[in-house]
């Protein structure tokens, strides 16, 4: 019985990103050693976050109110939209305090290896937002990796006919980089040095 419950927990934990079986097992034993109240609070917070957090219906960032606080607030550059892969990347740009525009979260990048096609991302929703005519510039801020570049070029090709300015964050971020982990000055300069596509 113990083995069964343990296996189940390990299986669930290995579904989390970057968690291998060994790490999952270590986490599981740690959870076993916790006082009941702490284990309960961990389980409860997982359930709570699923109940409270939704995607913003405008920008698709994670939020507890809809539309999210960024979409609801008066941003001084609200005619500039920064398109990012994930809520984590949005948070990284917000931490710079540099960007006063609005965001759009694609919820992924185009990836044949993961069978993520343009239709699986929030691209139609982006185009609809752009067609409303309030946005003048689109900043494409995907990771400078093969799949990020594929996505940026694909987006540039469908946005350009809308006669908007399309820019790509600067390659101050080296290819293969990861936005989440870059220091703020690199991120700032990548915004300053963005280029038109």
């Amino acid at each position: 019985m113990i083995a069964e419950a343990l296996n189940r927990l390990v299986r669930e934990l290995t579904k989390l990103p970057s968690i291998g079986e060994k790490t999952a097992l270590r986490m599981a034993f740690h959870i076993i050693s916790l006082p009941r109240s702490e284990a309960q609070s961990l389980a409860q917070s997982i359930i709570e976050i699923k109940e409270k957090v939704t995607l913003c219906s405008v920008c698709f960032n994670i939020t507890d109110c809809n539309p999210c606080s960024i979409c609801e607030s008066d941003r001084s550059n609200s005619d500039t939209i920064c398109v990012v892969e994930s809520p984590a990347h949005l948070a990284a740009f917000e931490r710079t305090g540099q960007f006063k525009g609005i965001y759009h979260v694609l919820q992924g990048v185009i990836s044949p290896l993961r069978n993520t096609s343009p239709d699986d991302l929030k691209i139609k929703e982006l185009v609809t937002r752009l067609q409303q005519g309030k946005v003048k510039e689109v900043i494409l801020a995907m990771n400078p990796t093969r799949e990020g570049e594929t996505t940026a070029i694909y987006l540039a090709n469908i946005i350009k006919p809308l006669s908007l300015k399309v820019t790509r964050i600067a390659q101050g971020i080296p290819r293969g980089g990861e936005i989440e982990y870059l220091d703020e000055s690199t991120l700032k300069s990548s915004l300053e040095g963005r280029r038109e596509l």
Binding site: T23, P112, L113, P118, R146, P174
Partner: protein, 251 residues
């Protein structure tokens, strides 16, 4: 720990923990090798721009016999195939080749010819205009290299050479073609013309420097598209994600 050096193509990259990445290479000297690139997610000092999908790189790595993962020491970019990602179709072509090798080859079994075929076809896709022909050529050469060469020159049943006739029939589970008189029940058989069979046969026979001369007609592309990817997946025993992607974007 001994250090090895080789040249390779990057097949997959995934995050591991907060700062590391696990990279799968198809190497010239050791076949498929997966390794951990310590700190690759956070710092670009060591690996720079080299750790990107489908890049052609020189690598060095350490290995411990007890571990299946090697430790990537150094990775230097040789060729980045920069046009691959300028179009989602060429990107999916490159992805399909990488996925095929990743899914269908065993770890640490070297196959130099297959490695050179991969480099050659990535280069061809990278140079415009790229053609769907390259996928069919790659599949054929891949099947030959893996010992799954389909029988395209004579009938599987009566053994007659396929020389004339408007149409023959490909049987995927049996891995070859039957002539019209042997193809009584055409369920699960795919029609294929002599021209297409000859092209595929040549794709498997020509030396690498000559394969770009092959030119698939639209009929040959249509027929071979209905056969080759299915034949490959039949041997793999599962569907390839990049093929599903290709079908989706083709609409």
């Amino acid at each position: 720990m001994p250090e090895y050096r080789t040249t390779a193509v990057i097949l997959t990259i995934r995050d591991y923990g907060d700062i590391d990445r696990i990279v799968t290479f198809y190497t010239s000297d050791f076949g498929k090798v997966s390794g951990i690139a310590k700190g690759a997610k956070k710092s670009l000092k060591r690996f720079g721009a080299a750790l990107d999908l489908f890049s052609h790189v020189d690598i060095s790595f350490f290995t411990k016999e007890t571990l299946s993962l090697v430790r990537i020491n150094h990775c230097h970019l040789k060729q980045s195939f920069p046009s691959l990602h300028k179009d989602i179709t060429s990107m999916s072509y490159g992805s399909y080749m990488a996925e095929l090798i990743n899914e269908m080859t065993a770890e640490r079994v070297a196959h130099r010819e297959l490695f050179h075929t991969l480099i050659k076809l990535l280069s061809l896709i990278d140079s415009s205009p790229f053609k769907e022909d390259y996928l069919r050529i790659f599949e054929m050469r891949f099947l030959v290299a893996s010992g799954f060469r389909p029988t395209l020159t004579h009938c599987l049943d009566c053994k007659q050479k396929l020389e004339k006739g408007p149409r023959f029939w490909f049987n995927i589970p049996r891995g070859g073609v039957v002539c019209p008189s042997c193809a009584l029940n055409k369920n699960n058989l795919h029609p294929v013309s002599l021209g297409t069979l000859k092209l595929l046969e040549q794709a498997g026979n020509l030396t690498l420097d000559k394969i770009e001369r092959l030119n698939f007609s639209s009929q040959a592309l249509e027929e071979s598209r209905e056969i080759m990817p299915h034949f490959v997946q039949y041997h793999l025993g599962k569907e390839l994600k990049s093929l599903k992607f290709l079908e989706k974007i083709r609409g």
